[in-house]
Symmetry: D2
Subunit: 330 residues, 4 copies
């Protein structure tokens, strides 16, 4: 049996606890949270022990830790877990600082522990099937990619303040998706944005409506658009144009019902937000992690993928400020 401990018992920690509960091959042994009540609630629901985070990480019965705590705690937990030889499943972003993320890369590579950056969208059945078909050459060489991500409503100001900005917090998923779908690397980025949804977000120095244009090593171009507002549910679409055709993945609607009357033909809104939309992807990513680690294979995406997406986000932030195209990692 593969024994897992969860660090951070918030929304995502709870999702992972449920996923483990449905697995034959893994057990949730312990949970930790800075807020004892959160840890106890999760413990009660899943029959896991409550531990201090440090004790959990060093506990000999634990095989792997899921780091689902606030981003600023990731760095410390990664260091401890690597030192303790635990497999690590870490929510994105690894860290908001590319320097500290590079340190994590060094730590992980030196320690040799398995590490997975939890880019859940790669495990969505639609996007993973698209990747497989692109990799199989079905649309030829990739030329143009369009990624649309829109949240149903903006998060509170308190979240925005610690988020690292829309490029590191929200668009980082799309940067990873661009790399994942094309199997290519981003070399340049040009980005801009406005605070159109919530003026408070603008006062905090962030934007809520943002776009970026990525130039890929092989010449393909990728357009991304993000908004913190979507009246019709969580908007998650991808369109990839190649030399032989186009593949796109549309939204997942709440149901298949269509109503027709004088207003026309109306389908249901998209599923509300990430927990509904990616429910199955969250399960699949954890299953991949458990399977990979128990088979002594490297889980993917790894820590280098976490760093790569963050470097694009950094460049996008700089591009927005400089009003110019910026090279990645420069």
């Amino acid at each position: 049996m593969f024994n897992i401990g969860i660090l951070g018992c918030g929304r995502i920690g709870q999702v992972h606890a449920i996923s483990i509960g449905a697995m034959d091959s893994a057990t949730l042994v312990a949970v930790a949270d800075a807020a004892p009540s959160a840890a106890e609630a999760l413990s009660a629901r899943h029959g896991a022990r409550v531990m201090d985070a440090e004790i959990l990480i060093s506990s000999p019965e634990i095989d792997a830790v899921i780091i689902a705590s606030p981003t600023d705690t990731h760095f410390g937990y990664i260091g401890l877990a690597a030192a303790a030889g635990k497999a690590i499943f870490c929510e994105k972003p690894v860290d908001l600082s590319s320097e500290k993320t590079r340190e994590c890369v060094a730590i992980i590579e030196k320690s040799g522990v398995p590490f997975m950056t939890a880019f859940n969208r790669r495990f969505d059945a639609n996007f993973s099937a698209m990747r497989a078909r692109i990799a199989a050459g079905e649309i030829g060489d990739v030329e143009l990619v369009a990624i649309t991500s829109r949240d149903p409503s903006p998060p509170p100001a308190s979240y925005i303040e610690r988020s690292g900005g829309i490029f590191r917090d929200m668009m980082i998923h799309d940067f990873d998706m661009a790399r994942f779908l094309t199997g290519d690397e981003v070399i340049e980025v040009s980005a801009t944005g406005s605070a159109l949804v919530d003026a408070e977000i603008g006062r905090l120095g962030d934007v809520d409506t943002a776009v970026a244009t990525l130039s890929m090593r092989n010449g393909a171009i990728c357009q991304i658009s993000n908004s913190r507002r979507s009246s019709y549910g969580y908007d998650q679409r991808v369109e990839v144009h190649g030399s032989k055709g186009m593949l796109r993945a549309g939204n997942v609607l709440e149901n298949t019902i269509e109503m027709a009357n004088g207003a026309g033909f109306c389908k249901a809104p998209a599923k509300y937000f990430f927990l509904e939309r990616y429910k199955e992807a969250y399960r699949a990513e954890l299953e991949h992690f458990v399977t990979a680690v128990t088979n002594a294979e490297s889980p993917s995406p790894g820590i280098q993928d976490g760093l790569a997406a963050l470097l694009i986000a950094d460049a996008a932030s700089r591009s927005k400020t400089a009003n110019a195209t910026v090279s990645i990692g420069s």
Copy 2:
């Protein structure tokens, strides 16, 4: 130049006048209508002379007549036009009585004049492409057909009274479509219906909601549904299942716009009614007639097709009354 006279200057006569106006190869020479004002209005718009119907039919400068007058005048005009050796383009139904229609068949076959029954839907680009693909074997042997036709709103009682009932007035188009798409003949029909939309229609002995099941000679089954009510525009759909796959033709919407908000994803209603929906089909059917006649070929559908559809409609009416399946032509 191919000279045409129009008998009946109502809605459909006007549609045909416009079609002729756009043709290089045909001219509208004369029009006739029992109501002089209708004839004069059409004449003024298209520069054609107003004539008495009988004079028009026998006029030596006329090559062909379009019979777009009330159904009970068709029989007489067909006789006169056949005697005068004119090519005949006749709106459906040829006549409400199958006996008189059979007489027309005899008259036309004896006279040898070209005759076309104006089943406009055969000339819709979508349905004609479907027919071509079915005939080419793309879906293998036809097994099951579903035809849906719904008018936006019921006609006035005065129309219903002279219509011959929903099977002869409305579903006759679908009977023809079943024959056209399958290239097969109907051997049995079972039909029923209710007056759900307008109680007045029920009092007149007709129904406004009707269905029929057709058994085709080759074993295929066809389901048809009709309603005199459709809140979302003129509903005109066909679905044909074969041994190798399915082909369907969907509605033609008013435009391609989709609106998304909290209500979901809404497309425009279907085009309102037959004049909008089949505008191009009306043009194409007349062009086919003119081209066929000027090339000394038989226009299609011919008078036998008009008779065949009427015999199915008769059988459907009897089936509804008898609560039993009825053989065609029996």
Copy 3:
């Protein structure tokens, strides 16, 4: 804890065992099957004991039985379980004979045990949402219903032989759906069919392509079509027209991907068959059963619903033979 025993460890029994495994409130205690290996396989996977069916039914620790064994065993098991005071969850059809089903109704009503007929489609999220919207009056009075059900491929002859024919085996789901969606009763049925997919099915006296027209008490008409062949996956569609609008539920596709190239715009096939398509509905129906029984409420659909659907199927069979419309229960 609510203790369940499963009678019949085939495909559906396995589905229910998994559903129970995911429930907090119920436990799979025992399984039985005429084939010991099937019972043992299921037992091993879910940690339940293997018992003889009769012993299982009378075991005091069992609160409810799931009857998922061959149809001809239902009658006996229902009698034993009712006598033992167990709640009963029974796969459809309750029995192929309406007389024996009527006996079951009497037994259940006399014993007072909770009984649920497992019409899984009622628990599909799309169809249940449609029912709720129809019941809320969103489309006004129901006028016309169209139900399409197509299996991906015909079952083997051995299955057909014991199936009771397409109306009792396959279309019975659609008969129940017509009653469920409209909240109305069927009073007359007209049905026909052909053996077009597999000549062997015809030799066995059954058909593989069938249609029925139902007349509902309130005047609405329902058209159903069934085929044992669908090249594009399991086809499960419903369309309900009312006085104010139309609601339809489309197919559930394998994924949201659309491919565009010279062939046009291509979406994925529908999910392959009932296990994939109704996976979640199977879970939801069992959850409803457990919740209802533990709350001392009647689960729905009940045994009367099982009888009602069978009586329509009987009438459809007679209609096909008689080539006439047949009244229900007559």
Copy 4:
């Protein structure tokens, strides 16, 4: 009667000649082309006289000229026609040079002749309906716009050489669409591109795959993508996100047919190219011109709109070279 002369008898000149032929209120009086055979062919088909361009422009019987000749002739013809007091309908771009276009603006404004820049897409029924709904406030304030335009295949090198580059030749339509749909002005642009479709286009210093990001005065952001390759027909889509919802206009497919088989559900490709897709828009734009001029109103879009789009195209070209965001008109 409103008398029109056409300068340039190529593909677009022919389209306009057909449109005039279908109008009651306008007549095609004369045509001119540097290639006498082209002028004669068009003349023969529409019964118009062949004239020298200069003579046509100064002919007293001509009320308006359609300038559909090569772009480098526009400037001269505009000067002559303005001097002759003719109403001018000019294909886009007015000129490839913004300086000469500014001169044209001065000439037109001084002369006071009616002038229309032929941005045909504004007259597409879908896009004009979208504009009306946006202007009516249906989606609130515009926040994000996505425009996709893809030609089915690249033009020959000879065309590319004189085209002014993809931003002035192709994306200029999308720049106009951004202004038209938002009713707002572009203040900054960032653009990039690659030669991925045809290496020869790259050798000529142009690109065949290009994207641009526009910042609008009111804060909205617009993403545009262009490609000279589309395997599935002429791709012409627009998506506008506002504070209250989203409106999008999809592609116009060749027909409404859907084929379903093991490959899934396949719809027809989009209409092949601009002549098929915008057939009705070409007719509508000319009708607008004729109606406006005969009613002594200013046709729209005017010459300032032609200049505005060109200035954005110039800025996009500079942005691509400079790898930086560029202000419009700077």
